[in-house]
């Protein structure tokens, strides 16, 4: 028997706010800090209303210093708090890279578990919203390649809230990436109160037997369109939303490609050093003999994200994904 749970129609950004609210209500030690997160409610309104509800000792407008925000969050986390630190944009995280790389991610290892850093770093990211320069970087791979960090990317409001709650409950640092293009693109029924979407688990958005498509974040919309177009040509796609980028859901990736024998990987981050390479190596390790065609990747280029007049060229399009699907089926 299931119990009816009340739901609310929320956008992704509202679901993120709700996830923080639920955990702040439940745990006194959860705090939110960052630039403009208080009175202003964040530049995307992700923390809207939280300072009114929880006060300025728990929702903190910090001085403008990313390294300062992350560095002090590490100290707070090691001393009993669960900071949710907001980076205004992922493209502004670089001053904090040192703190994340040399401290947040490895304090547990350095002290054999005597000190831990249970914190969440939230950051909007990705291109396609005509943002000014540097605001559109997709550098998730810098962090998936960083030992000691978990990296997650929801693609819809339901997952955003459930994964954020799981990230806050996680005993280790989690980079929680929020695709800007998904912030207000759709509304979805989101349960009130607490629920978890587990980290490390991908989700199958569409079942198919011919080609596996692996993507995440804002690319889910692109690959869903491509899968529909492919279906009209008789190609059935198994569409997988990876959701967690480290650690990847190895089992679902293997299960899917062992069924289809073909894979297309899509991400807007640059191809070289991107998640596509990691997924290809996983396919190689788990499913080499099942493959009927070389894996195709549709990715951003090995270039800086151009200013917005050119960003549509940079971003993988449904057309490019369809071409890749056709290529692996015609091999």
């Amino acid at each position: 028997m299931t119990t009816a749970v009340d739901t609310k129609k929320l956008t992704m950004v509202q679901a993120v706010t709700d996830g923080m609210r639920v955990m702040m209500k439940e745990q006194e030690n959860v705090i939110v800090l960052g630039e403009d997160v208080g009175q202003n409610g964040g530049v995307f309104r992700a923390t809207d209303g939280l300072v009114g509800e929880f006060g300025d000792k728990r929702v903190i407008d910090t001085p403008l210093a990313e390294s300062g925000i992350i560095g002090t969050s590490i100290g707070l986390a090691m001393n009993g708090f669960k900071p949710i630190a907001e980076m205004q944009f992922l493209g502004f995280i670089y001053p904090a890279f040192n703190q994340i790389m040399t401290h947040a991610s490895r304090i547990r290892a350095r002290t054999l578990g005597a000190f831990t850093v249970p914190m969440v770093i939230r950051a909007p990211f990705g291109a396609g919203v005509r943002a000014p320069e540097i605001h559109s970087d997709s550098v998730e791979a810098l962090f998936t390649g960083m030992p000691g960090m978990k990296v997650v990317v929801p693609s819809n409001p339901y997952d955003a809230k459930g994964m954020l709650i799981s990230a806050i409950e996680d005993p280790d640092p989690v980079l929680f990436l929020e695709p800007m293009r998904c912030y207000r693109s759709t509304k979805m029924d989101v349960p009130e109160g607490k629920y978890n979407v587990p980290l490390g688990k991908a989700a199958r958005l569409h079942e198919g037997s011919d080609v596996s498509i692996f993507a995440y974040g804002a690319m889910m919309d692109v690959v869903t369109k491509a899968a529909k177009a492919a279906e009209e040509k008789g190609i059935k796609c198994d569409v997988i939303d990876l959701r967690t980028l480290y650690p990847l859901d190895k089992d679902m990736i293997a299960e899917s490609v062992q069924k289809t024998g073909r894979a297309v990987i899509v991400h807007e981050a640059p191809g070289t050093g991107g998640l596509g390479e990691t997924i290809m190596s996983l396919i190689n390790d788990t499913s080499f003999l099942y493959m009927k065609a070389p894996v195709e990747r549709v990715t951003g280029f090995d270039t800086p994200v151009p200013m917005f007049a050119l960003e549509d060229h940079y971003l993988p399009s449904a057309d490019r994904v369809v071409q890749a699907i056709e290529k692996v089926t015609q091999f």
């Binding site: 630039e35 403009d36 208080g38 009175q39 202003n40 409610g41 530049v43 407008d61 001085p63 403008l64 210093a65 990313e66 390294s67 300062g68 493209g91 502004f92 670089y94 001053p95 005509r130 943002a131 000014p132 320069e133 540097i134 605001h135 191809g271 070289t272 280029f301 090995d302 270039t303 800086p304 151009p306 200013m307 917005f308 007049a309 050119l310 960003e311 060229h313 940079y314 057309d319 490019r320 071409q323």
Partner: protein, 354 residues
């Protein structure tokens, strides 16, 4: 600290003399030049906000209210000097030589908006906060090593003083005695965060003390104070007497960007009051009237010719050919390495272009 670093002023809010040191240099010609440049930048700024609202450019970053700070300081710089602006400093860069068309192109999401005019050392706007202070220090240090008397000016806001790069920039300039003018525009807010939450220091100028550097605090809405005190700092830099930190106290009337809503975090009546009371352009107009430099016809003609200049720049911006996607690939390195070349070919192929 406010006593040690008083807010220097040459003319007050009513356009009356407060400090007559530079009286002989404040000619009608200089005054009209400053007025013209300030009005030009204000009209440009308002056009930028309107173009964004009409969807003809992307997010725009307005500076209205900060014209005296940017123009007085930029005018104090010389031909071969270096300028390192932020994304809010187009009044400074247009004064130092950027074309209005280039500035509009930047806000239209065009890479061409980052290209300096021939022979002008203007860096692209710094988007990450405070990073540019180190570049300005490095460029000034290079001039010193080359034995020239050129200097750098670098712009940044009150929020930037919280970043590590601010302190590193000042310290390097101090240690290497680099000819830099660190020009801070303290407009009281870093997006939504008021300066009282940003720092406990009463002034920004006092931060110079820690680096054994000259610190100057001035009324950033008094274009004469900005111009003459910046000029002094530049002269000192040229003579090898080291860097200066200038704090220009000013105010942005509008939003942080066109994507921001200031009513979320402050009472916008404050901006309305300041428009009447402390506006930099209105103050200069009052001064010109007091000094019998004001001429209604001149002002009217000026408004008309500047408006025409700006409209012409908008037209040029809008008539610029769409960029080619090759620009995404062809400027990352001097020569495309194979991964970029193969991505470029694959992309062209995917479009049926080859």
């Amino acid at each position: 600290m406010e006593k040690q670093f008083p807010k220097l002023q040459i003319i007050n809010e009513n356009g009356e003399w407060n400090d007559e040191t530079y009286r002989s240099e404040i000619t009608e010609e200089l005054t009209k030049e400053l007025y013209t440049k300030m009005l030009r930048s204000r009209l440009f700024d308002r056009k930028g906000v309107n173009l964004q609202r009409q969807g003809r450019i992307g997010t725009y970053v307005p500076f209205e209210g900060q014209e005296a700070s940017q123009i007085g300081s930029a005018l104090a710089m010389g031909e071969g000097d270096w300028m390192f602006p932020t994304y809010r400093d187009h009044a400074a860069t247009m004064t130092f030589g950027h074309s209005l068309k280039t500035l509009f192109l930047y806000w239209k999401g065009r890479q061409e908006g980052c290209i300096p005019p021939e022979g002008k050392n203007i860096f692209p706007p710094a988007v990450p906060i405070a990073s540019q202070l180190l570049h300005a220090t490095g460029a000034a240090w290079a001039e010193k090593l080359k034995g020239t008397d050129r200097a750098s000016i670098v712009y940044f806001g009150d929020g930037a003083t919280s970043e590590g790069d601010f302190h590193e920039g000042l310290n390097f300039a101090s240690v290497f005695n680099a000819p830099v003018v660190f020009f801070n525009q303290n407009n009281g807010f870093a997006i939504s965060v008021p300066i009282e939450k940003q720092m406990k220091s009463k002034t920004i100028a006092q931060k110079a003390v820690a680096y054994e550097m000259e610190g100057v605090r001035l009324d950033g809405n008094d274009v004469f104070a900005v111009y003459f005190h910046t000029r002094t700092a530049v002269e000192r830099a040229r003579k090898g007497e080291g860097p200066t930190l200038i704090e220009a106290v000013t105010w942005r009337y509008g939003a942080h960007t066109t994507a921001d809503d200031p009513s979320k975090y402050r009472d916008q009546n404050e901006s309305a009051t300041r428009r009447e009371k402390t506006d930099p352009i209105l103050r200069l107009e009052r001064f010109m009237k007091n000094e019998n430099m004001w001429d209604e016809k001149w002002a009217g003609d000026l408004q008309e010719s500047l408006t025409a200049e700006i409209e012409a720049a908008v037209k040029e911006m809008e008539e610029t050919d769409a960029p080619h996607y090759n620009d995404v690939f062809d400027h990352v390195f001097a020569e495309n390495p194979w991964p970029i070349e193969s991505q470029k070919e694959a992309y062209a192929h995917s479009r049926g272009d080859r």
